[in-house]
């Protein structure tokens, strides 16, 4: 049986979330907080976070997971570091989110600090986390 046929028969029960963790801008911090919120609270049990630096550094566990399971990349800005790295190392993600564009679409202000998030900034975290969770549900539904 070819590998392609075997992969089609896998029923995915997990989605890998790959935040960019960008250090330079606040949106990078948002990708971290939103992704952990999805993993820890919104969709525990159906998501896995892929650590982008570990992924880039060549960890086989992270890269193989992203090759086999569907992934959602969460980038802070339109440089799309997570999306491009994932495409290069494991394959096209099932969905890609750009936080700066998402917040603009919702009319939400970008946080002022990349170090700490205020209570007001939690709205931005929640919007990103809910978008990720929605996409997780869509991907898993498609794969049932």
């Amino acid at each position: 049986m070819s590998e392609e046929i075997m992969l089609e028969e896998i029923k995915y029960d997990k989605v890998g979330i790959i935040p960019c963790n960008g250090e330079e801008i606040c949106e990078g911090t948002l990708t971290r907080h939103a992704s952990r919120k999805v993993l820890d609270k919104l969709r525990p049990g159906s998501t896995v976070t892929i650590c982008l630096p570990l992924f880039i550094a060549g960890d086989k566990g992270e890269q193989n997971f992203a090759k086999i399971f569907p992934t959602i990349t969460v980038d802070g800005c339109d440089k799309r570091c997570s999306q491009l790295s994932t495409e290069r190392l494991s394959g096209k993600p099932s969905h890609s989110i750009i936080v700066s564009e998402l917040l603009k679409g919702h009319g939400i202000e970008v946080p002022q600090s990349r170090r700490t998030l205020t209570e007001k900034d939690q709205v931005a975290v929640d919007v990103v986390a809910e978008e990720i969770a929605k996409k997780v549900d869509e991907i898993l539904e498609e794969n049932r």
Binding site: I50, G61, N64, F65
Partner: protein, 150 residues
Amino acid sequence: MSNDFMEMTYDKFIFRVENSYLYHPDECWVKRNGDLVTVGVTDFFQKTIGDVIFIELPETGTELTKGDEAGMIETIKVNVTLISPVSGTIKEVNGGLGDNPQWVNTEPYGEGWLFKMAPSDWEADKKELMEARVYFSLMEKKITKEMAKE
């Protein structure tokens, strides 16, 4: 997959079991080498506890009964007591772990060994240890149960 190990993949984690070792249910392995046995912790154990930052091991000459406390491992998450899987006398401890506690994580079945003992009743104690394939099944159940909790 290497011939030396059995492997199980769960999500992004690969769990390994060394084929030639014997295993105690409290997540340590035992390897007989001549008159001594070498003791270490399993790959599943080290992945569960996190990065090891400090290890306390018994002194050479210490006599232990099976199940006695045999040291402590500290990580950023937990402090875990080690137990002795067999009865006997500590003959050697892995001195390299003082400066390199991370060996327990990176090489749990090799460089990360903990101590060596002269067993006092090997034939009796050996009966309570599991062969690799039996431990592997137990590990699979533990992993599935542990991950389902998350």
